[in-house]
């Protein structure tokens, strides 16, 4: 196995544009899509009235904790589960009455799901054979797919003679060769080791960009979602919490749940001083009055919290509780990660996690040191306490 894994780092090359779908096709719409397993009305809802518009050629990730309904949503799109109610349309055609084998989609599975009794080439040819493609045409198409995925040397092998990464490429080649309008991925990388996972995800992204095939990708790995997606759909308990580009999801999460699920966050008690104007307002937090960006639901009526990412926290020596540095705190712990140091600091507002990157050797604080705690300008995000969606 070891030498097989070592053979992996061959990037996907060749000209992939062969498999690009017709322009502007693959537009997917989910409307009020709902799934309830079991037939009683009080059975828990796995997917709860999901609305989603996916543009042709877009790469969308469904992200959320285990059991939030990502797989269920994807399987309803693929047709493996019938929605309890709601619609899936592709390019305006309602898919609900179309059986899964007739939908213009291909799915890539977490377990790769290669046919163990067929060779790599036969696996890739499987779908085309069913379409009664001519033998010559079939050979060309399969060869192209194998070449794109750098699988030519393994064409005659059985799936179990391949490494995990190679198996995943076969699965991808097998899906691509069908020229689907939509590619569906259910945690395809979670069985790979960390390094290979990063490499495969970059390749998937490159390939997808080049081909422009609409892709829906399920993962619970936020790193994967951030790096791959045009837009991220964050789900929680069957509902969509937020749909946005990765940067917005990270900087301006729509709820405490999203803020907490994606990256790490400090939530600090804060007091809103004036009603927000244009998404900004003045608030008192961490010993200072500051101007911060605010969630649209924030108003003078409700309680608010200030979200600050650990890397946006500034720690300074020479403690001085003044109008510039904010609050004074005591270092509880300091963990050296290599590229950064993680501190836990005790303040009057509560305990705060700070991540200081690339610290000089003489600037590392020790536990029990006293520091003043500030926030990088413009990095705070004011959230209503009960923002549920």
């Amino acid at each position: 196995m070891d030498n097989l894994t070592a053979a992996d780092p061959t990037p996907i090359t060749a000209d992939a544009s062969e498999f690009a779908p017709a322009l502007e096709s693959g537009q997917v719409t989910l409307s009020a899509l709902t799934k309830r397993y079991g037939n009683r009305v009080d059975d828990p809802i796995a997917v709860d009235s999901v609305d989603l518009d996916i543009r042709a050629g877009e790469f969308v990730t469904l992200l959320g904790p285990s059991g939030c309904g990502k797989t269920s949503t994807l399987r309803m799109i693929a047709g493996f589960e019938t929605p309890t109610s709601g619609h899936v349309t592709v390019d305006g055609t309602d898919m609900v009455s179309v059986p899964p084998n007739k939908r213009p989609m291909s799915m890539v599975f977490q377990s790769y799901a290669l046919f163990p009794h067929l060779s790599v080439r036969q696996n890739v040819a499987y779908g085309l054979r069913l379409k009664k493609t001519s033998e010559k045409r079939l050979r060309e198409e399969v060869d192209t797919a194998l070449t794109i995925m750098n699988l030519m040397p393994y064409a005659e092998r059985a799936p179990h003679q391949l490494s995990g990464g190679q198996q995943q490429r076969v699965a991808l080649a097998r899906a691509l060769v069908m020229r689907p309008k939509v590619l569906l991925f259910d945690e395809p990388l979670s069985n790979l080791d960390a390094k290979l996972r990063v490499q495969m995800r970059n390749e998937i992204r490159r390939l997808q960009k080049r081909l422009g095939i609409t892709s829906i990708f399920v993962t619970h790995d936020q790193d994967e979602a951030m790096t791959l997606s045009d837009r991220i759909v964050v789900m929680n308990q069957g509902r969509i919490e937020q749909i946005d580009v990765p940067e917005q999801v990270y900087r301006h999460p729509s709820s405490i749940f999203v803020a907490d699920f994606i990256g790490r966050a400090n939530f600090l008690d804060a007091t809103l001083l004036v009603d927000p104007v244009d998404g900004r307002a003045r608030a008192f937090a961490l010993g200072l009055e500051r101007e911060v960006a605010t969630h649209p639901d924030v108003s003078l009526e409700g309680e608010v919290l200030l979200m600050v990412r650990p890397e946006s926290v500034i720690l300074t020596p020479n403690p001085a509780a003044d109008s510039v540095h904010g609050e004074v705190g005591r270092v509880l712990s300091a963990i050296f990660h290599g590229e950064s140091v993680e501190y836990e600091v005790e303040t009057d507002t509560g305990s705060i996690v700070a991540l200081v990157s690339d610290p000089a050797a003489n600037e590392i604080f020790e536990p029990m040191d006293t520091v003043s705690v500030g926030i990088k300008a413009d990095r705070g995000w004011l959230l209503p306490v009960h923002a549920e969606s």
């Binding site: 493996f80 309890t84 619609h87 899964p100 599975f109 377990s111 009794h117 699965a171």
Partner: protein, 582 residues
């Protein structure tokens, strides 16, 4: 019967615009699944449902009710019921014990000749029911070659003692296979952990191995219980005046020509069989702590400590010698004038079976079994696939009905067939098909025989398919769907090749079981069609043991030959070039 399609609880606001939705996402939209399910249900109804229904109506007809009432009041019937249950209890226990000893020796004890021991344990599966009984009479009976010939002892083995020996030796392979599978999948690190705590080997055996095996032992006991109370052949030959329900029902039908009484006795027999089967299926198998599919986690340590090894090997060796002598008798007996009495060599018996009057039975039986086996094998695969993958609510029921062929005693099934199919089947005054069984049946009753073969041999393939499919990740079939294949294509191109060894198991057992089954057949043979097992019964009844032995040997030979051919055909031709990892 089709699978239930139930409208989803869609809120009215949505229902207005949404097309009608079906609930069950697994199958609702796939016409192939609906068609296949309908076919399967129709077949199950024909081979099991109708005959059972016929039996029940007959048992509850006035004459049948009379007998049923006498079950409660008549001490003779109490005796018969007690005999039956006692036989089940004893054989269940001894058979399980023998199976356990063989399995334990095979998996855990160090000795040479494991392969031979394994083959020896499998012989009873391919042997017809009379082989052991007849050989035991020849060896150990009143004029037994060993009891009388060597020890000069007029042994009486008719009745319970003989039945116990013969049935235990005939049925223990079921227990052996069950328990061997369990022993193999037991995590050896458990043994090691216990040994590491300072437990001696003997204590490990009693405190770790045995408790882990309790579900397997209980399951084997129950299966053997069902098999032995259902057995007809041996009580007929060896029972003497030890009457059991199966032989009583046989007498009622063939001796007293009282069909309703036969049905009533059958019903009484079916109740404990069904009950025990249910317990085995829903209670014991659920309690099982060992995963049946689990691969051994490491090499099992072989015991070489004499305190365990010597007693186990001595007992197993004795039993093995007994089995060898029994089958040697079968083999040799066919060449002796009057086996055990006049041991002059002769070819007359084989001439009778292979070329003479007996050859029709050989041909008829083989042809019918060859027709039934592929149908039963494929049906088993299909039911397994529908049950594991495609059906939700109906799956438990269909699986259960398919397995009934194992639970319902053959006598019961045979009488049910005779009652239901001895006249044309009419629905609403329209003849659906002509009589299938009895004197006026089409094709001399061959259709009913094939049907009963299928019913009896379906369960082994079905069970093999279910457990094979449970080990195959469902995503593999979904991948095929996602690539454009419909359900039927997926089954043919992906599922079937992946469960080919289950298919092979199914076909093998189907053929062997069809060839060796007797209890339903005795009710269904007609002058126009001859079945080997019932011919053997006739030969044994009239004391022509030589012919019986020749029949048995030929039958075993045919079964082994066909199994061999099946292996070659399935592995080399049907799935050629599709090597896959096991």
């Amino acid at each position: 019967m089709a699978i239930p399609l139930i409208d989803a609880p869609v809120p009215d606001s949505v229902r207005a615009t949404a097309p009608k939705l079906k609930r069950n996402g697994k199958s609702a939209k796939d016409p192939a699944v609906v068609i296949l399910t309908t076919i399967v249900c129709a077949i199950l109804l024909l081979i099991i449902g109708f005959p059972l229904y016929g039996l029940l109506t007959s048992a509850f007809a006035p004459k049948g009710l009379e007998v049923l009432a006498r079950m409660v009041t008549d001490p003779v019937n109490h005796r018969i019921i007690a005999n039956t249950l006692l036989l089940g209890l004893i054989v269940g226990t001894t058979g399980t014990l023998v199976g356990f000893l063989f399995a334990y020796a095979q998996v855990k004890v160090k000795f040479r000749g494991k392969r031979a021991l394994h083959l020896l344990a499998m012989i009873p599966i391919v042997a017809p029911p009379f082989a052991v009984a007849t050989a035991v009479i020849t060896l150990f009976g009143r004029n037994g070659a060993i009891t009388n010939g060597i020890f000069g002892w007029q042994a009486d083995i008719y009745g319970l003692p003989g039945l116990t020996i013969v049935l235990s030796l005939s049925f223990f392979p079921v227990a052996y296979m069950n328990i061997r599978g369990m022993l193999e999948s037991l995590d050896p690190s458990l043994d090691e952990a216990a040994a590491g705590l300072g437990a001696s080997k003997l204590r490990v055996f009693f405190t770790v191995t045995i408790p882990m095996l309790v579900p397997g032992l209980a399951g084997s006991f129950l299966l053997l219980f069902v098999e032995s109370i259902a057995d007809l052949a041996n009580p007929l030959v060896l029972g003497g005046d030890y009457t059991v329900l199966a032989s009583r029902a046989y007498l009622a039908v063939t001796g007293e020509f009282n069909m309703q009484a036969g049905a009533a006795y059958s019903l009484t027999l079916m109740l404990p069989a069904l009950l025990v089967f249910l317990v085995q299926r829903y209670w014991v198998s659920r309690k099982s702590v060992v995963s049946i599919t689990g691969k051994p986690a490491g090499a099992t340590e072989q015991i070489s400590a004499p305190s365990i090894r010597i007693p186990v090997l001595v007992i197993v060796g004795f039993l093995a010698a007994l089995i060898v002598s029994i089958y040697a008798t079968v083999l040799a007996g066919g060449f002796l004038k009057v086996p055990g009495v006049n041991n002059e060599l002769t070819l007359a018996h084989y001439q009778f079976v292979l070329a003479g009057l007996g050859s029709k039975a050989m041909v008829d039986t083989t042809i019918l079994a060859l027709i039934a086996a592929p149908i039963a094998g494929l049906l088993g695969m299909l039911i397994g696939w529908l049950v594991v993958r495609k059906l939700k609510r109906a799956s438990g029921l269909i699986d259960f009905i398919g397995m009934l062929g194992l639970a319902i005693p053959g006598t019961v099934l045979g009488i049910g067939y005779l009652i239901t199919y001895n006249k044309p089947v009419n629905i609403f005054g329209l003849q659906v098909f002509p009589a299938l069984a009895g004197g006026s049946a089409i094709l001399a009753g061959a259709v009913a025989i094939v049907m009963v073969y299928i019913a009896r041999s379906l369960p082994s393939g079905q069970r093999a398919a279910v457990s094979a499919l449970q080990q195959i990740h469902p995503a593999i079939e979904e991948a095929s769907t996602s690539l454009g294949a419909d359900s039927a294509t997926t089954f043919r191109k992906v599922t079937l090749p992946l469960i080919q060894s289950a298919l092979l198991t199914g076909l093998t057992f189907a053929f062997a079981r069809s060839m060796t089954t007797l209890s339903p057949i005795v009710f269904l043979t007609t002058p126009g069609i001859k079945i080997m097992t019932s011919q053997i019964l006739a030969e044994v009844d009239s004391g022509r043991f030589g012919n019986a032995f020749a029949y048995c040997t030929v039958l075993i030979g045919i079964v082994l030959l066909v199994i061999l051919l099946l292996n070659v055909i399935i592995r080399k031709v049907v799935f050629r070039g599709q090597s896959h990892r096991r």
